[in-house]
């Protein structure tokens, strides 16, 4: 089985340090530590479980600056077979549509005979959950979003459980197919010590003996006009830090008198009662 995992390096928006907020209320991306997008670890784990069960060749692809190789190195430590970084200045400013063009192009170039593509449900920098379905459309394969578990896979089909608004749905899809995985799906395994020894020196070729391939747009045959700022339909008009309008506040004391007064006021205004 040939599996592609799409993994992104993201700023850790869950732990925003004080110094990350700039004067103008925008965020200083550099001040945030870069991490493996959490749900992409769930995607990788799902691929590794399939590898354990059925045997599989796992290629992890990431698009980002050269630094994003850290995510790929981490993937090797956990059991991925091949890693590819798509990196090119012309990709700067790509929105989700442009990102999906580059990633779909990369998959066509690197692993055209894939059976499964596994993505995280969403990346925590944008929280959009759009790249997966857009890559699926570009490659003309069906998609299963919000995947919770894979029941079985054979050479033709996959059966999965997926989360729906008010429950769970079991679906069967013909291969090849793209899955997006939620954090409820599994608990990602830690790095494997043996693999860490083996791949300690893994780096972007040619600096190291391969293992992390870095490819440009030309390498994967994607036209620059479909990516970067030019290929991105959406533009950020402006951003604001979250400011809260101060409201009229009334104090009530935390004793029986205060609470009594509060309820009298609430009942008078028919808010409770």
């Amino acid at each position: 089985m040939r599996i592609v995992v799409l993994a992104k390096q993201v700023p850790d928006t869950k732990n925003v340090p004080e110094n990350a907020m700039k004067e103008d209320g925008t965020l200083n991306r550099q001040a945030l530590p870069a991490i493996f997008n959490p749900e992409d670890l769930n995607a990788l784990e799902m691929a590794l479980e399939l590898k354990d069960r059925y045997g599989a060749y796992i290629t992890v692809i990431s698009m980002g600056p050269p630094n994003a190789k850290e995510v790929l190195k981490d993937s090797l430590y956990r059991g991925a077979d091949k890693t590819v970084l798509i990196s090119d200045r012309k990709l700067a400013g790509s929105d989700t549509l442009a990102t999906s063009v580059a990633l779909a192009g990369a998959i066509k170039h690197v692993e055209p005979n894939f059976d499964l593509i596994i993505c995280g449900r969403q990346a925590i920098d944008g929280d959009t959950a759009q790249v997966g379905p857009q890559v699926a459309e570009k490659l003309n394969v069906p998609q299963i979003t919000y995947t919770l578990s894979i029941e079985e896979v054979d050479s033709k089909e996959v059966i999965c459980d997926r989360e729906i608004e008010n429950g769970v749905e079991k679906v069967k899809a013909t291969l090849p197919v793209l899955l997006t995985v939620t954090k409820e799906a599994n608990i990602p395994r830690p790095e494997n010590v043996k693999m860490m020894m083996k791949y300690k020196k893994a780096d972007i070729a040619p600096e190291s003996k391969i293992k992390i391939d870095m490819l440009s747009l030309d390498d994967i045959g994607v036209d620059a006009k479909y990516v970067g700022l030019n290929g991105s339909p959406t533009k950020v008009k402006n951003i604001e830090s979250v400011v809260i309008a101060k409201k009229e506040t009334k104090d009530y004391s935390p004793d029986e008198n205060g609470i009594k007064e509060l309820f009298n006021d609430l009942m008078e205004n028919h808010l409770v009662g």
Binding site: P11, Q143, K235, I244, I259, N264
Partner: protein
């Protein structure tokens, strides 16, 4: 006169509330843009919903009907929607930011090569200037980003339609007018083997145990409540004053209460008449889900807690003392 189009979701014989909220907002957009409001409905028994769609302001309803469209599957609905888009010719398309909307909208955006903004909390119409060019009457797609630390306004100047998914609960419902009439356009599609690439084998639906959206009063607790046992006191109080129980993510993550109760950016967005916040610090991700509440009553031991910045009623105190007092006082006064 390019339309404003809303993708309609149905659930259990009902139109999902987010779809009605989007139609409500669509009325405002269509007035500003001086155009028509259209509804797209793809499913099995569409006809019984038409009246309500007109009542909420749809001028035209585009309907794609057939057994294979229910329950929702990505490819049949994508094909249906693309056909509707051809006929409706929209400048704006709105979807609920539900599991369905977030599955369908990006697939369509990719096909049409147009922009899509996820999880908007507000929509407005305005102008945009960029590199000496100017566009008028664009859709401002406003959403929290970076884990809720900033609010971004996104526009899509050129590659139209402009598409957005919108969170449930953020747009106000209008008063429906059941005397309104409109036009129904029925569309049929050719069969395609693509439609059957994914099959639904089974569905297990769970009953909703809380109705945060419909509640007039919410009693919410945070990490400060301290234990599952202590949350029971919130349930007791809620039962007494006919309220629903809400929670912060910290309380849910700590296992004090189920995820269905979570309020905020990754939970439900609510605006009850009264919101009690016990032991809640008031993190921005929580506030975006409750700050539109009518009267916010906060109880917190920390006088500096950010929740007090948006609270109407401030009680600096220990919830372990205040809550029992509230129960006692309510029982006395309620008599």
């Amino acid at each position: 006169m390019k339309s404003v189009l809303v993708y309609i979701e149905t659930d259990n014989d009902k139109i999902r509330s987010v779809s009605l909220e989007l139609l409500s907002k669509g009325n405002e957009l269509k007035e500003k843009l001086n155009t028509e409001l259209h509804a797209a409905i793809i499913g099995k028994d569409n006809d019984r919903f038409f009246k309500e769609l007109f009542a909420f302001g749809a001028d035209k309803v585009f309907s794609v009907k057939g057994d294979k469209y229910s329950p929702y599957r990505t490819i049949p609905h994508t094909r249906g929607m693309l056909e509707i888009i051809k006929k409706s010719d929209p400048q704006i398309i709105l979807y609920g930011a539900t599991n369905i909307g977030r599955d369908l909208a990006p697939r369509i955006a990719s096909t049409l090569r147009c922009g899509l903004t996820a999880d908007c909390t507000d929509l407005q119409i305005g102008d945009f200037e960029y590199m000496k060019k100017k566009w008028e009457n664009l859709l401002y797609q406003i959403r929290p980003a970076w884990g809720g630390n900033i609010i971004a306004t996104i526009v899509n100047p050129e590659m139209h339609p402009q598409m957005a998914t919108v969170r449930e609960g953020v747009m106000h419902l209008i008063e429906p007018d059941y005397s309104r009439k409109g036009e129904v356009v029925e569309l049929t599609l050719d069969e395609s083997p693509e439609d059957e690439k994914v099959k639904i084998l089974d569905r297990i639906l769970k009953e909703k145990t809380v109705d945060l959206k419909g509640a007039d009063i919410i009693v919410a607790g945070g990490a400060g409540v301290g234990s599952k046992g202590n949350f029971q006191k919130l349930f007791d109080f809620a039962k007494l004053i006919k309220a629903e129980v809400g929670a912060t993510r910290a309380a849910v993550d700590a296992g004090y209460i189920g995820k269905d109760h979570q309020i905020g950016q990754t939970g439900t967005v609510v605006k009850p008449k009264v919101y009690f916040a016990f032991g809640i610090s008031g993190a921005v991700q929580h506030r975006v889900g409750m700050e539109q509440s009518g009267t916010i009553i906060a109880v917190n031991t920390d006088p500096e807690a950010p929740i007090f910045d948006i609270a109407h009623v401030r009680i600096v105190g220990d919830l372990n003392e205040v809550l029992p007092m509230m129960i006692k006082m309510y029982k006395e006064l309620g008599k």
